[in-house]
Protein backbone atom coordinates (compact mmCIF):
# COMPACT_ATOMS: atom_id res chain seq x y z
CA UNK A 1 0.00 0.00 0.00
CA UNK A 2 1.28 3.48 -0.86
CA UNK A 3 1.98 5.70 2.12
CA UNK A 4 1.46 9.20 0.67
CA UNK A 5 2.82 10.94 3.76
CA UNK A 6 6.06 8.93 3.74
CA UNK A 7 6.41 9.62 0.02
CA UNK A 8 5.95 13.36 0.65
CA UNK A 9 8.57 13.28 3.41
CA UNK A 10 10.96 11.40 1.12
CA UNK A 11 10.59 13.87 -1.75
CA UNK A 12 10.83 16.87 0.58
CA UNK A 13 14.08 15.53 2.00
CA UNK A 14 15.40 14.69 -1.49
CA UNK A 15 14.34 17.87 -3.31
CA UNK A 16 14.39 20.59 -0.65
CA UNK A 17 17.12 18.99 1.40
CA UNK A 18 17.85 17.65 4.85
CA UNK A 19 17.93 19.70 8.04
CA UNK A 20 20.60 22.36 8.02
CA UNK A 21 21.74 24.93 10.57
CA UNK A 22 22.46 28.51 9.52
CA UNK A 23 23.86 31.34 11.57
CA UNK A 24 21.47 34.28 11.87
CA UNK A 25 23.91 36.65 13.52
CA UNK A 26 24.73 37.97 16.96
CA UNK A 27 21.70 38.72 19.07
CA UNK A 28 22.97 38.87 22.66
CA UNK A 29 23.24 42.47 23.73
CA UNK A 30 20.97 43.90 21.03
CA UNK A 31 17.70 42.84 22.63
CA UNK A 32 15.67 45.70 23.95
CA UNK A 33 13.39 44.74 26.81
CA UNK A 34 10.72 47.01 28.22
CA UNK A 35 11.27 47.82 31.89
CA UNK A 36 7.65 47.10 32.74
CA UNK A 37 6.90 43.42 33.03
CA UNK A 38 10.49 42.54 32.20
CA UNK A 39 10.87 40.00 34.99
CA UNK A 40 7.77 38.06 33.93
CA UNK A 41 8.88 38.16 30.31
CA UNK A 42 12.35 36.88 31.20
CA UNK A 43 10.88 34.14 33.38
CA UNK A 44 8.71 33.06 30.48
CA UNK A 45 11.69 33.07 28.14
CA UNK A 46 13.77 31.09 30.65
CA UNK A 47 11.02 28.48 31.06
CA UNK A 48 10.73 28.20 27.27
CA UNK A 49 14.49 27.73 26.98
CA UNK A 50 14.51 25.03 29.69
CA UNK A 51 11.63 23.28 27.92
CA UNK A 52 13.53 23.30 24.65
CA UNK A 53 16.67 22.08 26.42
CA UNK A 54 14.66 19.20 27.90
CA UNK A 55 13.17 18.37 24.51
CA UNK A 56 16.60 18.49 22.89
CA UNK A 57 17.88 15.98 25.49
CA UNK A 58 15.31 13.40 24.47
CA UNK A 59 15.18 14.27 20.77
CA UNK A 60 16.87 11.78 18.41
CA UNK A 61 18.68 14.63 16.72
CA UNK A 62 19.48 17.36 19.21
CA UNK A 63 18.78 20.21 16.77
CA UNK A 64 15.32 19.02 15.67
CA UNK A 65 13.75 20.27 18.89
CA UNK A 66 14.01 23.94 17.95
CA UNK A 67 13.67 23.85 14.15
CA UNK A 68 12.29 27.13 12.88
CA UNK A 69 13.13 29.07 16.04
CA UNK A 70 16.51 30.80 16.04
CA UNK A 71 18.28 29.97 19.28
CA UNK A 72 21.58 30.77 20.86
CA UNK A 73 23.40 27.44 21.10
CA UNK A 74 25.43 28.79 24.01
CA UNK A 75 22.30 29.58 26.05
CA UNK A 76 20.78 26.24 25.13
CA UNK A 77 23.90 24.32 26.15
CA UNK A 78 23.95 26.26 29.44
CA UNK A 79 20.26 25.45 30.04
CA UNK A 80 20.91 21.79 29.24
CA UNK A 81 23.77 21.68 31.77
CA UNK A 82 21.58 23.31 34.42
CA UNK A 83 18.80 20.84 33.69
CA UNK A 84 21.15 17.87 34.01
CA UNK A 85 22.68 19.23 37.22
CA UNK A 86 19.24 19.97 38.69
CA UNK A 87 17.94 16.54 37.68
CA UNK A 88 20.95 14.79 39.19
CA UNK A 89 20.58 16.76 42.42
CA UNK A 90 16.88 15.93 42.58
CA UNK A 91 17.64 12.24 42.00
CA UNK A 92 20.27 12.24 44.76
CA UNK A 93 17.90 13.92 47.22
CA UNK A 94 15.12 11.44 46.37
CA UNK A 95 17.54 8.49 46.66
CA UNK A 96 18.84 9.71 50.04
CA UNK A 97 15.31 10.27 51.29
CA UNK A 98 14.32 6.75 50.21
CA UNK A 99 17.37 5.23 51.95
CA UNK A 100 16.70 7.25 55.09
CA UNK A 101 13.08 6.08 55.12
CA UNK A 102 14.12 2.43 54.59
CA UNK A 103 16.64 2.55 57.45
CA UNK A 104 14.14 4.17 59.77
CA UNK A 105 11.41 1.72 58.82
CA UNK A 106 13.40 -1.55 58.86
CA UNK A 107 16.55 -0.60 60.73
CA UNK A 108 17.28 -1.72 64.25
Amino acid sequence: MLDAEALDRYFTAQVVGVAIAVEMGPSDGIRREPAQGMRLHLLGGHAELLGEAARSLISPTSTAAWAGQPRSELSLARARRRLLAGGSLLFLVAWSAALWWLFRRFGT
Binding site: A19, V22, E23, M24, I30, A67
Partner: protein, 136 residues
Amino acid sequence: MDTLVIDPVKMNIVNRVAAETTLSGAFHFQGGLLLQGSLNGEGEIAGRLVVWHDAKLVGRFRVLGDLYLLGRLGDTADAIDESTVIECQGTAYVASTGVSCGTLIAARLRMYDGAVLQGPFRTLRGEQSLPVLSPT
Protein backbone atom coordinates in the same frame (compact mmCIF):
# COMPACT_ATOMS: atom_id res chain seq x y z
CA MET B 1 25.38 33.90 17.93
CA ASP B 2 21.90 32.58 17.17
CA THR B 3 21.51 29.52 15.01
CA LEU B 4 18.45 28.62 12.99
CA VAL B 5 17.80 24.98 12.22
CA ILE B 6 15.94 24.62 8.94
CA ASP B 7 14.32 21.21 8.87
CA PRO B 8 12.26 21.12 5.64
CA VAL B 9 10.22 18.08 6.71
CA LYS B 10 9.40 19.43 10.17
CA MET B 11 8.77 22.98 8.91
CA ASN B 12 6.73 21.80 5.91
CA ILE B 13 9.02 23.55 3.42
CA VAL B 14 8.02 21.50 0.41
CA ASN B 15 8.94 23.92 -2.38
CA ARG B 16 12.33 25.06 -3.58
CA VAL B 17 13.60 27.53 -6.14
CA ALA B 18 17.17 26.46 -6.71
CA ALA B 19 20.17 28.77 -6.97
CA GLU B 20 20.73 30.43 -10.39
CA THR B 21 17.03 29.95 -11.17
CA THR B 22 14.78 32.91 -11.98
CA LEU B 23 11.00 32.71 -11.90
CA SER B 24 8.69 35.52 -12.98
CA GLY B 25 4.93 35.67 -12.80
CA ALA B 26 2.08 34.97 -10.39
CA PHE B 27 2.62 32.13 -7.94
CA HIS B 28 0.78 30.34 -5.21
CA PHE B 29 2.98 28.03 -3.20
CA GLN B 30 1.14 25.48 -1.09
CA GLY B 31 3.48 24.91 1.83
CA GLY B 32 6.76 26.59 2.67
CA LEU B 33 9.36 27.74 0.16
CA LEU B 34 13.14 27.67 0.21
CA LEU B 35 14.19 30.44 -2.17
CA GLN B 36 17.77 30.14 -3.34
CA GLY B 37 17.34 31.80 -6.75
CA SER B 38 15.27 34.83 -7.82
CA LEU B 39 11.52 35.16 -7.64
CA ASN B 40 9.77 38.11 -9.32
CA GLY B 41 6.10 38.90 -9.54
CA GLU B 42 3.31 38.42 -7.09
CA GLY B 43 1.65 35.69 -5.13
CA GLU B 44 1.25 33.87 -1.88
CA ILE B 45 3.33 31.41 0.10
CA ALA B 46 1.10 29.31 2.32
CA GLY B 47 3.81 28.45 4.79
CA ARG B 48 7.25 29.58 5.86
CA LEU B 49 9.56 31.40 3.48
CA VAL B 50 13.33 31.16 3.66
CA VAL B 51 15.17 33.66 1.45
CA TRP B 52 18.61 32.13 1.26
CA HIS B 53 21.97 33.93 0.98
CA ASP B 54 22.26 35.51 -2.53
CA ALA B 55 18.56 34.86 -3.21
CA LYS B 56 16.25 37.69 -4.24
CA LEU B 57 12.53 38.28 -3.85
CA VAL B 58 10.97 41.09 -5.87
CA GLY B 59 7.29 42.01 -6.13
CA ARG B 60 4.20 41.67 -4.00
CA PHE B 61 4.02 38.53 -1.94
CA ARG B 62 2.05 37.41 1.08
CA VAL B 63 3.67 34.92 3.44
CA LEU B 64 1.26 33.05 5.68
CA GLY B 65 4.01 31.81 8.01
CA ASP B 66 7.33 33.10 9.28
CA LEU B 67 9.87 34.77 7.02
CA TYR B 68 13.59 34.12 7.38
CA LEU B 69 15.55 36.69 5.41
CA LEU B 70 19.17 35.82 4.78
CA GLY B 71 19.23 37.25 1.25
CA ARG B 72 17.59 40.26 -0.36
CA LEU B 73 14.12 41.77 -0.67
CA GLY B 74 13.74 44.22 -3.56
CA ASP B 75 15.65 44.86 -6.74
CA THR B 76 17.51 48.09 -5.99
CA ALA B 77 21.00 48.30 -4.59
CA ASP B 78 20.59 51.00 -1.95
CA ALA B 79 17.38 52.91 -2.69
CA ILE B 80 13.88 51.88 -1.67
CA ASP B 81 12.17 49.52 -4.10
CA GLU B 82 8.59 50.78 -4.23
CA SER B 83 7.39 47.78 -6.21
CA THR B 84 8.34 45.24 -3.55
CA VAL B 85 5.87 44.72 -0.73
CA ILE B 86 6.12 41.61 1.42
CA GLU B 87 3.39 40.89 3.93
CA CYS B 88 4.31 38.32 6.55
CA GLN B 89 1.65 37.06 8.90
CA GLY B 90 4.16 35.54 11.29
CA THR B 91 7.54 36.72 12.50
CA ALA B 92 10.05 38.25 10.10
CA TYR B 93 13.58 37.24 11.09
CA VAL B 94 16.21 39.37 9.34
CA ALA B 95 19.63 37.76 9.65
CA SER B 96 22.90 39.68 9.69
CA THR B 97 23.26 38.99 5.95
CA GLY B 98 19.67 40.04 5.14
CA VAL B 99 18.89 43.20 3.17
CA SER B 100 15.38 44.58 2.74
CA CYS B 101 14.90 47.38 0.19
CA GLY B 102 11.18 46.85 -0.19
CA THR B 103 8.29 47.44 2.18
CA LEU B 104 8.14 44.80 4.87
CA ILE B 105 4.90 44.27 6.74
CA ALA B 106 4.95 41.68 9.51
CA ALA B 107 3.22 40.80 12.76
CA ARG B 108 6.58 40.67 14.55
CA LEU B 109 10.10 41.61 13.57
CA ARG B 110 13.38 40.28 14.85
CA MET B 111 16.58 41.74 13.48
CA TYR B 112 20.12 40.59 14.01
CA ASP B 113 23.20 42.74 14.29
CA GLY B 114 24.27 43.71 10.76
CA ALA B 115 20.87 43.33 9.11
CA VAL B 116 19.96 46.13 6.69
CA LEU B 117 16.46 47.58 6.53
CA GLN B 118 16.49 50.14 3.70
CA GLY B 119 12.78 50.09 3.04
CA PRO B 120 9.99 50.81 5.50
CA PHE B 121 8.64 48.33 8.03
CA ARG B 122 5.04 48.25 9.16
CA THR B 123 3.45 46.17 11.88
CA LEU B 124 0.67 43.94 10.71
CA ARG B 125 -2.44 44.58 12.72
CA GLY B 126 -3.98 41.24 13.49
CA GLU B 127 -7.06 40.15 15.35
CA GLN B 128 -5.02 40.03 18.55
CA SER B 129 -4.20 43.73 18.50
CA LEU B 130 -5.88 45.86 21.11
CA PRO B 131 -9.08 47.60 20.00
CA VAL B 132 -8.83 51.34 19.42
CA LEU B 133 -11.17 53.26 21.70
CA SER B 134 -13.52 55.68 20.04
CA PRO B 135 -12.85 59.32 21.01
CA THR B 136 -16.59 59.98 21.46
